[in-house]
Each structure stands twice: as C-alpha cells, then as structure tokens.
C-alpha cells in the first residue's frame, strides 16, 4: 500500500537501504546517494524535454491551423527523438578565432542554470531535491548564472552580431529580473519563509487568489526571463541573425534550444509552486503521488498558456520591452508590495478569510488603477494622413470624383 501511495519515495528509500547494506561509511553513502539522486533528477529533466518539444510543436501547429509533426509514430511522438538523433550527428563547426573555453562553456552553463532550478522545487509533499532555507532566492540566483552563459556565448563567438545580440539579451534578462525579484517578495511575505516547501505548504487559498497583481507581474516577468515570444527579440531567427547562438552548430546549438524549452517548463512550474499552490489539491497530503499528479496538471496548464502567448502575440521591439519593464512592471510591483504590506498589517487581527478577501480587493483595485494609468499613457491616436472618404463604385456615381465631398 505504501508503494502505491508514494512510489518515488519508496524507491528512494529502498535504494538508500541497499547502499547502507553494502557497508560503506555514512559519509560515502550520503554522497553516492546524492550523486545518484541528482543524476536521476537531472537526466529525467533532460529526457522530459523531448516530450515538451513534441507538445509545443503540436500545439503551435494547431494554433497556426496546421497539424504539427504527425509522420513519425502515433501523433508524431517520435519526431523529437528523431530530431535529437539527427542533431547528435551534425558537424560541430567551430569558427576561427573563438575563445575555446568561453565558446564551449556557454551551452553547458545555459542548460546547467536551468537544471539547477529542479533541485529545490517540491514536486510533491515528499519528493524534492533539497529543502534549503532560501529556495526562492536560489531560483533567481541561478537565473543570473544563465545570463553569464549568454555573455560567454556572445563574446566567445568572435562575431560582432553575436556580441550585440548577447548584450541585448542580457540587458533584457537583467531588466526583467527586477519585477521578478520584487514580486517574488509577496509570497515570502505571506508565508514568512523563503523555502519553497514552506511556501507550498502555507498556501491555504492559493496565492493567486490572494495577490493576483503580484502573480500577474511575476508571470509576465518570468515569461520575459525565459526569452520566449513575445519577448524573444534576442534570439529570434529574423533578428540579428539569430543572436548570440549564431556561431553554434550541432548539439551545442541543440543545447541552447533544450535549455530554452526546459526554461519555459521550469518557469511554468515555478509559477505553479509559488502562486498556484504547487502540489496542493484534495487528498494530496495523505497520498503524496497525487500531489505529483496535481503539480503536473497545473504545470501543463500554465505551459499551455505560455505556448498560447507564443503563438498569438507579435514580437515586442526592444524599446517597447524596456518601457514595459521599467515604466509599468517595476513601479507596479513596488506599489503592490507596499499596498499588500500595509493592508495585511492593518488587518492582521481579523479572521483569515476576511484578510484574504480584503487583500484580493486591494489587488484588484491596484490592477484597475494601473490599467487606467497605462491606457492614459499609451499613445493610441495616430495622426490622420489621408482623408477618410471612401468612394464606393456603383453605376450611379461614375462621374463623381473621390474627395470632392459630394455623395452620390
């Protein structure tokens, strides 16, 4: 029965028992256990990307009124596997004059930065890598390591356009970290701890129902952090010749690609963990594997939303992106955190549900006011260039000139 309740932890405990039975000292057993656990989680993440690529391609295809890949395997399920096999055998062309260490370290660092985010997220009540006390800050910090990878890619390629693309990408990622970090303060405030395990456990109403403004800012900032459409100026094919990964071929380019897809999924599950209640759901406390199921369902819903964004929105220009960040998201996130801090403290002694409702009302008020201000600040009127006269051809007014004002 306990196997069915929590198969993953059952297997882990069984493996630990095996290791202890071999008779090594506790230190070595711990380290080997850690290595195997990390290996399984990281390798699992990388193999999971294959499924994610299929999911995205099918969905984007449907959004564009076509089938996605549907030749290989049922519903095209083997297509990404075939693509991976193909990319393994492509020649790794190294252009002349590259800085060997920077050039080769960049794809590894990009993927490693995303993989490390899998170490601290709770996938279910008992299945998580490690519960460090600074979980949410850890996620943001390893995002910064990914930025270093991009700089290495751009500079190590010995290519002006790669360098410009990399600098732009890093400027965009750096800028969007500000609302990301500031709106990540809100769940920490509401929970009283930075650890992701504690944040999930404390979400009695999900935090998206308590602080939707913060959730919105966090969501937009994390979409921009992943560098996906509509924020993909830095690496889209038609912009600066594909940006910082122009000089990469074969699996090195594939690694950037894998890192980007994995980052999109990771951003989805970070949002789910922090605002949508993680693995919480009916019955997830007693049966931990149910928690994993809820987590996956919620993450796929958010991932679906991300892919919808990608398929429907045109790309932002770089100055539009920066305006959105510095003039809208950052002041909004600062105002949200000030208002939530004040409101929560003023009503600290009321009942829980009353406080939740008041916070929700305050957030919605902020969103409405922000929408009004944005609408006033955005230029929507364009100067009229030509006249609006539209002559309609019909046998009656064949001899009336357009623009003369006469109506037939």
């Amino acid at each position: 029965m306990s196997f069915w309740r929590d198969p993953i932890i059952f297997i882990i405990e069984w493996a630990k028992g095996l290791l202890a039975g071999i008779g090594w000292g506790p230190g070595w057993a711990t380290i080997v256990g850690f290595v195997i656990g990390a290996f399984v989680l990281a390798a699992g993440a990388m193999f999971f990307v294959v499924f994610l690529i299929w999911y995205e391609r099918k969905l984007i295809g449907r959004l564009q009124d076509r089938f996605g890949p549907n030749r290989l395997g049922p519903w095209g399920l083997f297509q990404p596997i075939a693509d991976m096999l193909k990319i393994f055998t492509k020649e790794l062309i190294t252009p002349s004059g590259v800085d060997w260490i920077a050039y080769n370290l960049a794809p590894v660092l990009s993927v490693a930065a995303v993989l490390m985010m899998w170490a601290v997220t709770p996938f279910s009540k008992t299945f998580f890598g490690v519960n460090i006390s600074v979980g949410i800050l850890f996620l943001i910090a390893v995002g910064g390591l990914g930025e270093v990878g991009i700089i290495l890619a751009g500079w190590g390629s010995n290519n002006k356009y790669a360098l410009v693309g990399a600098l732009r990408a890093v400027a965009q990622l750096c800028s969007y970290e500000v609302p990301f970090v500031i709106s990540a303060l809100v769940p920490v405030m509401l929970t009283g701890s930075m650890s992701l395990v504690d944040i999930v456990e404390a979400q009695n109403p999900w935090y998206i129902l308590v602080a939707p403004a913060a959730a919105l800012v966090f969501f937009i900032a994390s979409v921009a952090e992943t560098g996906r459409a509509p924020f993909d100026l830095a690496e889209a094919e038609s912009e600066i010749v594909a940006g910082y990964n122009v000089e990469y071929s074969g699996l090195k380019f594939g690694m950037f690609f894998v890192g980007e897809f994995l980052h999109a999924f990771t951003a989805s599950f970070i949002f789910v963990t922090v605002f949508l209640g993680g693995w919480r759901g009916p019955g997830a406390d007693q049966i931990p594997v149910l928690g994993l199921v809820y987590f996956m369902i919620k993450t796929f819903i958010v991932y679906f939303a991300l892919i919808l964004f990608r398929g429907t929105n045109p790309r932002f220009r770089i100055d539009q992106m920066m305006d959105l960040n510095w003039k809208v998201l950052t002041p909004l996130s600062l105002v949200v955190i000030m208002v939530i801090a004040l409101v929560d403290r003023l009503f600290a002694s009321s009942a829980d549900w009353l406080r939740t409702v008041i916070l929700l009302a305050a957030n919605l008020a902020i969103l409405v006011v922000a929408e009004r201000l944005i609408r006033r600040g955005v230029k929507t009127t364009r100067p009229e260039v030509g006249s609006r006269e539209r002559p309609v051809a019909s046998p009656d007014n064949l001899f009336i000139q357009p623009g003369s004002g006469a109506k037939g």
Partner: protein, 173 residues
C-alpha cells in the same frame, strides 16, 4: 581530513588562483571571467560556513549583477580586447617578498589565537534564523538606521550614475 576540509581546500585554492589570474590575464575579458569564478568560490565558502543566505546573495548580486556591470563597463572602453604592456614589471621580486612577509605576519598572529586548530562545528538546523535577521534590520534598537541609510546610499549611486551617463549621452549624441 574530513570532507569539509577537503572541500574548503579545493575551493580556497581555486578562489586564490582565480584571484591571481584576474590581475595576471592579458585580455580584460578574461579578467572579468576569472573574477566571476573568484566570486563563485567566495559564495561556496559562505555555504561551507552555513551562511546560506549570504551565499545566495553573493551569487545573485555579485555574479548576477556586478559582474555583468563590469563586463558592460569593459566594453564601453574602446581598446578592450588586448593589453600590449609587458606581463611582469621590472622589479617584481620586491612586492613578492613584501607579500610573503605580510602573509607570514598575519598567519603568525592568527596562529596565536587559541581556537586556531579547532574544527568548525556544524550548527543546529534552526541556527539560520532569517526571521531574526529581518526583525533586527527594522528594529529601532537594531539596524534600522543603517537600513534606511543604505537606501539613501543606493539612491545616491543611482542618481550619480544617471547624471554622469546622461551627460555622456548628450556629449556623444
């Protein structure tokens, strides 16, 4: 030789070596990358001292922001890619001797401290009390004045940098 000591030795050697390479590299971009490695080593040292928050803050602020700022600043100066000066100055033995003497003095004074040979104990699991740290930051009997002064300092840095940069834009553009 416990595991902690081995980790500390490896990380310390890597950090010191990267620190030396920061000043000894020919290309300035390499110096910046060695600096990133040095800062990462310092972060790992914080983690071995069980100051987890500071390790993460080191990575977040130093590597995620300051290193990138340094790299952008490098690129703002034009002749950034190579360094034509000789690698080693003429009388290099004198500073080397002074450095060794200084290190010997410091190590000697530290060795007279009675806890020099004592191993670091692992703190209990609830020793990292971020809530106490947070309330100390805003406690009037604690650190609230440095807290507010820090914000004014950050404001001054922001205003100063913008003033200089915007001047430069008007001069260049």
């Amino acid at each position: 030789m416990s595991g902690l000591q081995i980790v500390f030795l490896i990380v310390a050697v890597v950090t010191l070596f990267s620190g030396v390479m920061v000043v000894a590299s020919r290309k300035m971009m390499h110096s910046a990358l060695w600096l990133i490695l040095t800062l990462l080593g310092v972060a790992i040292l914080f983690a071995t001292l069980q100051a987890g928050f500071f390790a993460i803050v080191q990575v977040l602020v130093y590597i995620g922001a300051i290193s990138i700022l340094i790299i952008f600043t490098l690129m703002l100066t034009r002749r950034v890619m190579d360094d034509e000066h000789p690698q080693v100055i003429k009388g290099w033995w004198l500073p080397a001797v002074m450095a060794v003497i200084l290190f010997g003095l410091i190590a000697g004074f530290l060795a007279t401290w009675e806890d020099f040979q004592v191993m670091l104990n692992e703190l209990p699991a609830d020793a990292e009390n971020l809530a106490a740290f947070g309330s100390a930051l805003v406690n009037p009997a604690g650190y609230v004045i440095p807290f507010e002064v820090a914000s004014v300092l950050l404001l001054a840095a922001l205003v100063g940098a913008i003033y200089i940069a915007v001047e430069r834009k008007e001069k260049v553009g």
